[in-house]
Amino acid sequence: MSAAQLRSVATVIGLSVQEGLRKRVFLAVLVLTAGFLALYAFGAYSAFEDVDGFVAGETEILDPRAFTGATIFGLAMFATLFLGAVLAVFLTLGVVRGDAESGLLQPIVVRPIGRTTMLIARFAGAASLSAAYVMLVYAAACAITAAAGDWTPDHLVAPALGLALGVAIIAALSLLASTVFSVTAQGIVVFMVFGAGLTAGLLAQIGQAINSDSLHEVGRVASWALPFEGLYTASLHALISETAGLTGVVLELGPFGGSEAAGPELIAWAFAYLLGVLALAAFVFSRRDL
């Protein structure tokens, strides 16, 4: 790629980021995030206070702080993924068909930058903003949990990276949908896919709880078909992977049931999936009349 092309890519990324920051949805996500973190802080302090009294003086085989911290932080991870997905979808909303219909796309696409490079640059803009967002919210939730109950995840960085890669995949899927669907349909389709992924994770969890191999397998296959779910459950697993004893067992029975470690296969598959979705989006876009 020449220096001029790199400059063009940087320009489109900058344009995506500027547009994203100026969209009202970004403000809405920020307000929602502030609300979520405030409620999370209130909930975390209350939960740690309550649980201290609950186990005091009894057996010490269950670590109340680890149990409470992991449970509420696991819920915070879900909220973080959800808000990150909302942001990724809205930052890529109408990027191809929607912008083409409104006449915003044509003046840019006729420039030498080319369609594929433009698409990749738009993805890079949306994915980097969404990934930065989930990592910041993750870090904030982590800091709140540590301050409220002196608990931190067993692995600090890996879950954040897992969530960031997860929202990047959602951004890529949304971009692919934007090459085919109008704005409203794109939003609906991507959120349905997101919901399907989460449902698949839930199925795997239920399958494990009731010891149903077929249900667990269905959930597991679906999680791989939509790897943002696999990355999310792997991130959950990384929170407690070093937690041993009764606390670890109880957590596995609770909200962390069904979570599995992210082996190298999942990471490799997630990157291959991401590249595949982007390649498909570029192919569809290259054949679309504008």
Partner: protein, 281 residues
């Protein structure tokens, strides 16, 4: 004319069952201003979009400076203003031009931006946001945007549709300036009078086919010599201005009283209406 800047050869385009273009040939040379006329849905915008790589042809081809339309080299050589366009509302005129300079790889910097805003008489609005501009101002800004990077070919799709008479004059003068700079221009317009005023060459498309092409003078050739005599008005169809004295002399020799002589030209509008057969989209 040397090698054409824009060469359209046997171009056809089909959208599903709809044949938008059929075997269209057209050339635009350096410094030539070609007006593309036709009813709505005739295929004018499709042709323009194929030329800038936004739409893929079904048959035939288009070359820009000898390179296939849509190739990076072809795109680097052209400027385009779509009929339906929108710029980010939060951008100022200055920011928008800077953005397109980066995308076009233009090294023109601030001097180019200032010159372009001057050309479309938007210097005072350099810091104005697009969302605060009238549609006419946005259209003039669109023309300036299309000129970023000094393109050799300019494709303008209805560039004056939202302009008032003053705005149209600005664009007309700009087009004349571009002709002096040897820029090739393909202008899609419904405004026949405007096309007649500025274009060197006119091509009329109807039903996806090129039905008439030539200079405005060739197209709007002499239609008739009309003579008012004592026995009524007599029309000599197809007669030229040069034939008028002989016609009058013959009439006088035949004993007719001649009161008025008028050489009638068919206007571009007449030619257009005849060519498209009253079609409208």
């Amino acid at each position: 004319m040397g090698a054409p800047v824009l060469a359209v050869r046997e171009l056809s385009k089909r959208y599903g069952k709809q044949q938008a273009l059929s075997g269209v040939d057209l050339e635009v040379g350096a410094g030539q201003l070609v007006g593309l006329l036709g009813p709505n849905g005739a295929g004018k915008s499709t042709l323009t979009k194929i030329a800038c790589g936004l739409v893929r042809p079904s048959g035939g081809g288009v070359e820009v400076l000898g390179r296939p339309a849509g190739s990076p080299e072809a795109r680097a050589a052209l400027g385009y203003l779509a009929e339906l366009f929108r710029f980010p509302g939060w951008c100022t005129a200055e920011e928008l031009l800077r953005l397109h300079q980066r995308l076009a790889g233009s090294e023109g910097g601030e001097a180019e931006r200032r010159e372009l805003l001057d050309l479309v008489e938007l210097s005072e609005a350099a810091e104005k946001r697009v969302e605060a501009m009238s549609k006419g101002m946005q259209q003039r800004l669109g023309v300036a945007q299309a000129l970023v990077g000094s393109p050799r070919l300019l494709l303008l799709d209805e560039p004056t549709s939202a302009l008032d008479p003053v705005g149209r004059r600005i664009v007309r003068e700009l087009l004349e300036e571009l002709r002096r700079r040897d820029v090739a221009v393909l202008l899609n317009s419904h405004l026949l009078s405007e096309v007649e005023l500025v274009c060197d060459h006119v091509a009329i498309i109807a039903g996806g086919r090129l039905v008439k092409a030539g200079t405005p003078q060739e197209l709007a050739g002499p239609a008739a010599v009309e003579v008012e005599t004592g026995s009524g008005v007599r029309t000599f169809e197809g007669a030229t201005r040069e034939e008028a004295p002989r016609i009058v002399a013959d009439l006088v020799a035949a004993g007719e009283q001649v009161y008025r002589v008028e050489v009638r030209h068919s206007s571009l509008e007449d030619v257009y209406l005849e060519a498209v057969g009253g079609q409208t989209g």
